[in-house]
């Protein structure tokens, strides 16, 4: 295969850096290398996923086996298990709150976007590093501090925040309300401020890097869909996280300084509180202006990763490259105008509700376009079922089955019945939680060889996939029925209600499935850490992929390419191109080197390519003679 290096571009200043050797601290801890920062985000994300998953097992035990004696958990939970061996009721609220916060922000935002945006953006667009390595490092360390504070709050005497992950006031604003609105809530808010700072620092870096630092020939129309999705995710984050900051700031003032932005006319124990004139719905508006785009911050990177993995392993170009970009753009824009569908029953104007319902249902259009494009890419492809491919197909499955229930929930009339029931829990755990988690897993299995230079064991990967895939459906599918029956979410116990008794066995089934699914993740954990040191050595391009990251050395150093950065001559999806002998043509292969497979309009480009090469050749010669 011909590799023509015509360009004289590239960051020559960088070569100086290769001489000095990093010590342990600059290499593994305070690293400014985007690859190491990506791995730091990944490992921290895995740590938080385990904590978040473990918390969910605790409350699933309570829901599935309400009469169970939990005193065997006392070594871990201590005082949170009462004298009679029951789970403390306030701690239950803290468990669901922390599970939501950890999974949404720490695992699926930082762990997913943080890992893959950092790791893949410079590698796939052909850059030495991020626009600002220092800011990138700060981004990780702000996230780390945020995690530290959140982790510390788990060990408070009164427990961590307990007002639900949305922390609605007045519940979250008044210390007298529940134990979880005391110090735990304060630490939650401080941790979130650090987290917002981390996300903004990261997002600013991602956008700057993608716009300004693409290699020669890497036009926007030649960007892999992963990069498009990371780009739009960062844009959403940049526009929505500041709004969460504003909401949290006012909540801090209400909690600690006595203002009344969200508080009005509250009586506790017959005593009126001094707060007057606040509006709790105001908080909901501000929160969901972040909260809804956050769903897409979580989901878009997973969709981008899936596009890449499915095209590579179907050995076919992605179906509808431009339609994919346009639908992601559409989702990005729509994500900002649908937030009030979370508030249909908040007492808001029903007419306004109809507007938001209409806008919400429009999201089905770009989402369906994406699903059809995945299916048509898979259709008649030469499918290679790597673990990453299976997880990607799993994502598509969850995206369909979870997305369909979104059409129900988006209706303001049906939402009156379904609001805050387990139907909602089932919906968003499938379409946002599990789909994004499967995207994350697909990414880890697919890019592990690039991260660590070794392969993960695919047999363990298959076991992990099937247990998780079946497990997720076993957990969340029955929840739809429980929700339609009217079970409210976040309730400690339902056994007091007669209508709820008939679902005890279903809840037990869900809890057992959840425990099995959680246990299956340890297969992945073993595979991940074992393969990091003992895995089979990775070949140069294990998935025979077109994108730029596979043109770097197997273990790329700081700066990614030892020589010049390769130029890009084509889009990243030239798989099984008719006429070509090879079934994939990397982006670095010029059109002039593949006359047998060029399309008519590409032949035109070849002429120009040759012309440019000739001109650059003259420049090169001139430069040489000047020396």
């Amino acid at each position: 295969m011909a590799v023509v290096n015509t360009a004289t571009h590239g960051d020559h200043a960088h070569e100086v850096h290769d001489d000095h050797h990093d010590n342990f601290i600059t290499k593994y801890i305070f690293s400014t290398d985007h690859k190491m920062i990506g791995k730091q985000f990944l490992v921290t994300g895995i740590f938080w996923a385990l904590i978040g998953g473990f918390l969910s097992i605790l409350f699933r035990l309570q829901l599935g086996f309400p009469e169970m004696d939990m005193s065997f958990l006392r070594p871990i939970l201590g005082g949170w298990i009462t004298e009679t061996g029951e789970l403390d009721q306030n701690f239950y609220l803290a468990l669901v709150t922390m599970h939501g916060t950890i999974m949404v922000f720490f695992v699926l935002t930082a762990g997913l976007s943080g890992t893959f945006s950092n790791f893949l953006i410079p590698l796939q667009i052909g850059a030495r590093d991020m626009a600002s390595g220092f800011m990138n490092m700060l981004s990780y360390w702000f996230f780390f501090v945020s995690g530290l504070i959140m982790f510390a709050s788990l060990f408070l005497e009164k427990g961590p925040a307990g007002g639900g992950w949305v922390v609605y006031p007045p519940l979250s604003a008044l210390e007298q309300a529940i134990p979880g609105s005391g110090m735990g809530m304060t630490l939650w808010l401080i941790a979130m401020v650090f987290f917002i700072a981390s996300t903004l620092l990261g997002g600013i870096n991602y956008i700057t890097t993608i716009i300004n630092m693409r290699t020669k020939g890497m036009t926007f129309a030649r960007l892999p869909l992963t990069i498009w999705s990371f780009f739009l995710t960062a844009v959403i984050g940049l526009l929505s996280f500041p709004v969460l900051f504003a909401a949290a700031l006012l909540l801090v003032f209400d909690r600690s300084f006595g203002t009344s932005f969200y508080l009005a006319d509250i009586y506790i124990g017959g005593e009126a509180l001094p707060h007057t004139g606040g509006s709790p719905v105001l908080y909901q508006h501000l929160f969901w202006f972040l909260g809804h785009p956050e769903v897409y911050i979580v989901l878009l990177p997973a969709l981008g990763i899936t596009s890449e993995v499915i095209a590579t392993n179907s050995r076919k170009p992605i179906f509808g490259y431009k339609a994919m970009i346009i639908s992601m753009l559409g989702i990005t824009i729509l994500s900002f105008v649908v937030w009030a569908h979370h508030m249909f029953v908040s007492g808001m104007n029903p007419f306004l509700g109809s507007v938001f319902m209409f806008l919400t249902l429009i999201i089905a259009v770009p989402s369906a376009v994406k699903v059809f494009n995945y299916l048509t890419t898979l259709w008649r492809g030469n499918l290679i079922f790597t673990p990453a491919m299976l997880f990607s197909i799993g994502l598509v499955s969850f995206f369909i089955s979870g997305g369909l229930t979104g059409i129900f929930l988006g209706n303001s009339a049906i939402d009156i019945q379904l609001h805050d029931t387990y139907f909602v829990v089932a919906h968003f755990h499938l379409v946002m939680g599990s789909a994004s988690f499967f995207g994350l897993m697909a990414g880890v299995y697919h890019w592990f060889p690039k991260m660590f230079g070794r392969m993960m064991d695919s047999k363990l990967g298959y076991i992990h996939f099937w247990l998780t895939f079946i497990g997720v459906y076993m957990v969340f599918f029955p929840m739809h029925y429980i929700g339609i029956a009217g079970f409210p979410r976040r309730y400690y116990s339902w056994t007091n209600f007669d209508f709820a008794n008939m679902y005890t066995d279903l809840n037990m089934f869900v809890s057992i499935a959840a425990i099995v699914t959680f246990a299956a993740q340890f297969i992945f954990l073993f595979n991940f850490f074992y393969s990091m040191y003992k895995g089979r050595k990775a070949p140069h391009n294990p998935w025979r992929s077109n994108t730029l990251e596979w043109t770097t050395p197997i273990n790329p150093g700081h700066g990614n390419w030892p020589g010049e950065i390769p130029s890009v001559y084509r889009w990243p999806y030239d798989y099984s191109k008719p006429g070509s002998a090879a079934d994939f043509i990397p982006q670095t292969v010029p059109l002039s080197a593949t006359p047998e497979s060029n399309l008519p309009h590409e032949e035109e480009l070849v002429k120009l390519e040759k012309q440019i090469m000739a001109e650059e050749g003259q420049v090169l010669v001139a430069n040489e003679s000047n020396k």
């Binding site: 800011m135 997002g203 940049l238 500041p242 203002t259 509006s279």
Partner: protein, 193 residues
């Protein structure tokens, strides 16, 4: 011919803007979103009634004049740097920094004037919002003054001239933005209080 131009454009290394300058613009976008959220919250809350009416401190007119003037001196210093006119650059930067501090002092007196009107941070949200707007803007302005002083020091070290303008350009962009942000907030308050 046209087609050829297009292709060359596509093949060139697409670095279009200094990454740090671009990052500053993105930071400005996120700041705009914070204030857009707060002012929207103000409108939503105001529409619900139970709203305290009071006159805005007249000191806001003075501070607005000061911040507009400081944008003028900033631009004066900026064009001086482009012309390598070091004397005017230093003078302009000193003036801008003094005006920046004067603005902050003026904003403090606006709080004093609010307290005189019996409008406190704790109380009806109409007053609390005003403290949050001015306070959060003042925090940003303090960061702007620090940036001004950094550029001021480097201009005295002759590190800012027509060949090295990045920091100066970023400082000017940020300072004009902060001025514009205040004018927006003031206009917003005039129209909506």
């Amino acid at each position: 011919m046209e087609e050829r131009l297009e292709y060359i454009e596509g093949a060139e290394q697409p670095i279009s803007m200094h990454p740090k300058k671009f990052a500053l613009w993105l930071f400005i976008v996120s700041t705009v979103m914070v204030f857009a959220a707060l002012t929207s919250a103000y409108i939503v809350r105001q529409a619900e009634g139970n709203w305290l009416e009071f006159n805005l401190p007249s000191v806001f007119y003075w501070t607005s004049a000061i911040i507009v003037l400081s944008s003028g001196t900033m631009h004066w210093a900026y064009t001086a740097a482009q012309r390598d006119d070091m004397k005017i650059l230093k003078l302009g930067m000193v003036l801008t920094s003094i005006l920046g501090v004067a603005f902050l002092v003026g904003q403090w007196y606006s709080w004093v004037a609010l307290v005189d009107r019996d409008v406190y941070f704790v109380g009806n949200p109409a007053g609390s919002f005003l403290y949050v707007f001015t306070g959060l803007h003042a925090l940003h302005l303090i960061s702007g003054v620090i940036f001004l002083i950094i550029v001021l020091i480097s201009s005295f070290k002759y590190k800012i001239h027509s060949k090295s303008m990045t920091r100066m350009e970023m400082c000017a962009t940020y300072w004009h933005f902060l001025g514009g942000l205040w004018i927006y907030l003031f206009m917003f308050l005039l129209l909506n209080h």
